[in-house]
Amino acid sequence: MYLELIIFLTLLAFGYGFGRYAEKKHYRSIIAREKELNNIPAIATKHAPVSGQQHDSNLVMGSVVISIDYFKRFAASLRTLIGGRVTSYETLLDRARREAILRMKEDALSQGGDIIFNIKFETSSIFKGKKNTVGSVEVLAYGTALILKQGAH
């Protein structure tokens, strides 16, 4: 009984400490890279107002799987008992989405793309283990990058 309680509290403390540290670090990196890749506009509209003569188009995508920490998962399942906004998952999804966009932009950059159109997202939760003891979300962002043809300039 005491042993279980101690293990539980230790896991909570570890989850809180490491989870918070990882989240802060991730946000710092996201914000820095967003500034860097700011010159590649990413928009959700379908039609590119350019003719196909000067540009090639190519599918670009970025995906990420991020896991929730012990503390947050526990807080989230407490929240599902009471109801209301599940704040534990908000930052998780926000991070996952922005990371996926960044990876997509990096993909576009590596292909020489200037702008990404028609962005779409796929979100899926991946639960594994006995009674969903491993919880994580996958976000995939994909769109079409316009790539300036070589020699067109």
């Binding site: 700011n38 998962r73 807080a75 407490l78 008992l81 009471i82 704040t87 999804l93």
Partner: protein, 315 residues
């Protein structure tokens, strides 16, 4: 042919910009620890309230179950007649215990139909328990350790008080109702950690009611000791025996079905100091042959399991 100017790279850049979006729109600003503490407090108190309501409901329903039903129901499960070798000594012990039970029954003013049946079990555990239908079980291990008749009367009065207050069936009812509710709630929580958390929280709440039962029974038992012997001296000897037995292994009261043995002892001592009992009151010894009756029975090896079900309430 020259391309229209709006297709040039520079113009695309001009028309398509990517302004920085401020942080914190898609996330909540509340500090996670604060929210966590509120959630834990909220969930724990709602579980406690749920259990409290179910206990009240169960006690209300149990109040309508006549004792005779309880007796009929429990009859097939509590018959020890066949499993016990009837030697002279077991008969002597049984007679002695039954006689003692009769005195306590009178002292506690048990209703007419509430009959007590004492069973003696030849096993080494230091324990005794009361269960459905007015059945009280004594283990050899406990009887061997008791130093005097007052301590024995204390155990028996305590168990009989459980039966008087109908604790075995209350405890069964609470177990069934609360267990059902907890399993429904925890199964829809859908998370292994949460399931454990909910059932532990529920169990800890039920334990609080168990301890109250024990306190009530201790109180009633002391009352009957006063009416039989005129004092409560020797009652604490029972708990000294238990303390000796559970040395170092007693959990905190919060995690236990019973109040701390230490507290039960000091409770008895306080009461004995308050009462006018003088130093001259003496402790009644056990019958001379009592130890001999128990000694000769030690042939059978221990085969009992330590599993208890909610309707069995030990000391």
């Amino acid at each position: 042919m020259a391309l229209p100017s709006f297709l040039s790279k520079e113009l695309i850049k001009l028309e398509y910009s990517n302004p920085e979006i401020p942080e914190g729109i898609n996330t909540s600003k509340e500090h996670p620890l604060k929210e966590f503490l509120l959630l834990v407090a909220g969930v724990l108190s709602s579980i406690a309230i749920l259990i409290l309501l179910l206990v009240l409901l169960s006690d209300f329903i149990v109040g309508y179950i006549p004792f005779s039903w309880e007796k009929k129901l429990s009859a097939p499960f509590t018959s020890t007649e066949k499993s016990i070798k009837h030697t002279d000594n077991t008969t002597l012990i049984n007679n002695y215990l039954q006689k003692m039970a009769a005195r306590i029954t009178v002292a506690q003013n048990l209703p007419e139909d509430m009959t007590i049946k004492i069973h003696y079990l030849d096993r080494p555990s230091v324990n005794a328990f009361a269960t459905l239908g007015g059945n009280v079980f004594f283990f050899r291990g406990l009887l061997e350790k008791l130093p005097n008749e007052n301590a024995l009367a204390m155990v028996m009065a305590h168990e009989i008080a459980h039966i008087k207050f109908r604790h075995p069936i209350q405890s069964l009812g609470r177990g069934v109702l609360a267990g059902l509710a907890l399993s429904i709630v925890s199964s829809s929580a859908g998370d292994a950690i949460m399931e454990n958390f909910i059932s532990e929280a529920g169990i800890l709440t039920i334990l609080k009611f168990n301890r109250d039962m024990e306190r009530d029974s201790d109180k009633a038992a002391l009352g009957s000791l006063v009416s039989i012997y005129g004092h409560i001296k020797g009652a604490d000897d029972l708990f000294l025996v238990l303390q000796q037995e559970n040395k170092n292994s007693e959990p905190y009261e919060f995690f236990s079905t019973h109040p701390l043995t230490e507290n039960r002892i000091s409770n008895i001592r306080n009461q004995s100091r308050q009462s006018a009992a003088s130093e001259t009151t003496s402790i009644t010894p056990l019958p001379n042959d009592f130890k001999r009756w128990l000694q000769s029975e030690k042939s059978e090896p221990d085969s009992g399991s330590d599993e208890t079900d909610p309707a069995e309430i030990n000391i």
